[in-house]
Symmetry: C2
DNA sequence: ACTCCTAAAGAGTTTTTTATCCAGTTTACG
DNA sequence: CGTAAACTGGATAAAAAACTCTTTAGGAGT
């Protein structure tokens, strides 16, 4: 039902970065605090997103992480294909390696329409959309109550 | 997108047992071979299903595992609540502990309808239904090609 | 040039999940 | 009875996922 913790952290962090003024690098430390997530682990995840061209990183003073130019339009699906692996959309609910119309598990027929809904949902949502939603103040990215959020 | 391997094995095994003549205990070894799954590990999973009243087990010669009386109607949801834990249906896609209408993650509104579809799918499918589907010969429970299935 | 602040990189640790092993108990059957 | 076949339960091991630590390197300000 859920994603790996790595994917959750990646998505949360990307949305958070997308809510920040573009061009101003965001510190790993600040993201970790804001999401109450282990900083060293998050750093690894962000590095990986850099390698794959979603983020830019800057070292030294005034350093940090920024969404790369144009990457506000990145969809959740694009992110999850990186963090969950390229077979993310191919998974069979029973774990079969091969589960197509030809060689189907007994759940296949019922599962496919639901899976399509999930995929289109993930493909429709961009970081920009989600960041805007968060900026309305109606939604949260972490379990921290709003009153305890770092300034 | 997927279930734990433990859940996958549990569901596969239960469906397989449901395809076998009721009252005749099925050997753990046979199930493991049929699904090409580690036998010792599967045994633990089956024991757990016994503890929770879905299966009956019999020791000694002519021993094995049977669906408990009336348990052909067991739904996938009932099984997954055991194998994935009682919070299985409560999970937030971003991993928030609290993600309700009041305290929602930015995906919440779009995710809920999909989640409902998943839940009703899992709640509608019984072991009996799935076993019947398998018995038609159109579906498979493991990656083994039909030609290699143990007799 | 020097120093401080940052990410990068790699190795190492801990925890969870998955898988194995073995000695013990139960049962059927000869 | 005795033996082989089957589950049981506890301990253990291996693999994967989550997380940490330490060192290195690069950029900004003085």
């Amino acid at each position: 039902m859920v994603l790996s913790r790595t994917s959750q952290y990646a998505v949360q962090a990307l949305i958070y970065i997308a809510t920040q003024p573009p061009g101003e690098p965001v510190l790993n430390r600040d993201i970790a605090e804001r999401l109450s997530v282990p900083a060293a682990y998050l750093a690894k995840i962000l590095q990986n997103l850099c390698k794959h061209g979603i983020l830019d990183s800057f070292r030294g003073r005034l350093g940090g992480f920024c969404l790369r130019e144009g990457m506000h339009k990145t969809t959740l699906m694009q992110v999850l294909l990186l963090t969950e692996g390229p077979d993310f959309t191919k998974s069979c609910i029973l774990g079969l390696k091969e589960c197509s119309d030809a060689t189907a598990c007994p759940l296949h027929a019922k599962w496919i329409p639901v899976k399509k809904k999930i995929i289109s949902l993930l493909t429709d949502m961009s970081l920009e959309d989600l960041a805007k939603a968060v900026l309305t103040g109606k939604y949260r990215l972490s379990d921290l109550p709003v009153s305890l959020l770092p300034a």
